[in-house]
């Protein structure tokens, strides 16, 4: 059974939440593409280059412009007190606290992966160690990205209960 949430959110903040989620998911997918491509026997440098750049930009949008603004202006005031007063306050004290800290890694890891790819250009294909490093960092981005996405769903669900 579904219940209507009591928290009012402005249209502006709703758009920020949508941008935060969608750009985050797109960023994770693009770095997933970097991993799958980098692990190929003959990777396409063009794909690695554009996927890493667009993935980095998507995560930056999700991280600073939308997520940061949403967190500072809305989460602390409207969502956090509801979760803390709920039957599962650990959703804030454990899940959200973890999310907001490991989330900080994403743009830096994305920047690092992009830097490895862009600085080495086509020669990256002939450098298996560097190529694998870019793949491992990108996989870490995907892994952390999936974890924070699931955490976000849990937090949103708990705040609506």
């Amino acid at each position: 059974m579904l219940y209507r949430i009591k928290i009012k959110m402005s249209a502006f903040l709703s758009i920020f939440l949508i941008v935060h989620v969608i750009s985050g998911v797109v960023g994770i997918f693009l770095f997933g593409g970097v991993v799958l491509n980098a692990l190929k026997q003959k990777p396409s440098f063009k794909i690695l280059k554009w996927f890493s750049l667009l993935g980095f930009l998507a995560l930056m949008v999700s991280w600073t412009i939308s997520g940061g603004y949403y967190y500072v202006t809305y989460y602390g005031k409207a969502i956090k007190p509801i979760i803390q007063a709920s039957a599962t306050p650990w959703v804030h004290s454990v899940i959200m606290e973890t999310k907001e800290h490991i989330f900080l890694f994403l743009p830096f890891l994305a920047f690092l992966s992009m830097l490895i790819i862009w600085l080495n250009k086509e020669s990256l294909i002939e450098k298996p160690r560097l190529k694998n490093m870019a793949a491992i960092i990108s996989f870490l981005i995907v892994f952390i990205g999936i974890a924070v996405s699931l955490a976000g769903i849990l937090i949103s669900g708990t705040a609506s209960r």
Binding site: L17, L36, L150
Partner: protein, 165 residues
């Protein structure tokens, strides 16, 4: 057309591409392996199917998050804690990790193929079975059993078609 209907249509397109792609990937793979050699043209077909499958997965995940946002912004956020939704999310995460493991050849092909097929069909069944009232654990247990049943079915098909292991 409202947003919800739009999301349903696009989500269904993603499901069709994904489930169809996973099914045909397995059929073409078995056909390609039948003579013991995978020809360049067969590799090309398989690459195309995997590309479509990934497009399907992308559409499915994006529209899936679209649904979650729709529920959240329209005051039905309680649905985000539904165990059926979490089982579906778990299966999609397994599907993504399976794709990475197949790429790095760290999973036996029989298991990778079975996980892929079962996950796609499992996610589709969970999405369509509106009245299903089951716990997260029971859905995942059934899913794990289904993976091994699927592996057995694929093995029987290979044996029946005399496809080399």
């Amino acid at each position: 057309m409202d947003w919800y209907t739009f999301l349903i249509i696009i989500h269904l397109i993603g499901t069709v591409l994904g489930v169809g792609g996973a099914t045909f990937a397995e059929i073409f793979y078995l056909k390609a392996k039948k003579d013991g050699v995978i020809e360049p043209l067969e590799i090309d077909y398989l690459r195309t199917i995997y590309f479509i499958l990934r497009i399907g997965l992308f559409i499915l995940v994006i529209t899936g998050f679209g649904f979650l946002l729709f529920y959240r912004l329209n005051g039905y956020g309680e649905g985000l804690l539904n165990p059926k939704l979490w089982a579906k999310l778990g299966i999609v995460v397994i599907l993504v990790l399976n794709a990475f493991l197949i790429q790095v050849k760290k999973i036996p092909m029989w298991l990778g193929a079975s996980v892929s097929l079962t996950s796609w069909y499992g996610a589709m069944i969970l999405g369509s079975w509106r009245t299903l009232d089951a716990s997260f654990a029971s859905i995942i247990i059934v899913y794990i059993i289904a993976v091994f049943i699927m592996a057995g079915i694929l093995k029987l098909i290979k044996r029946y078609l005399k496809i080399p292991q």
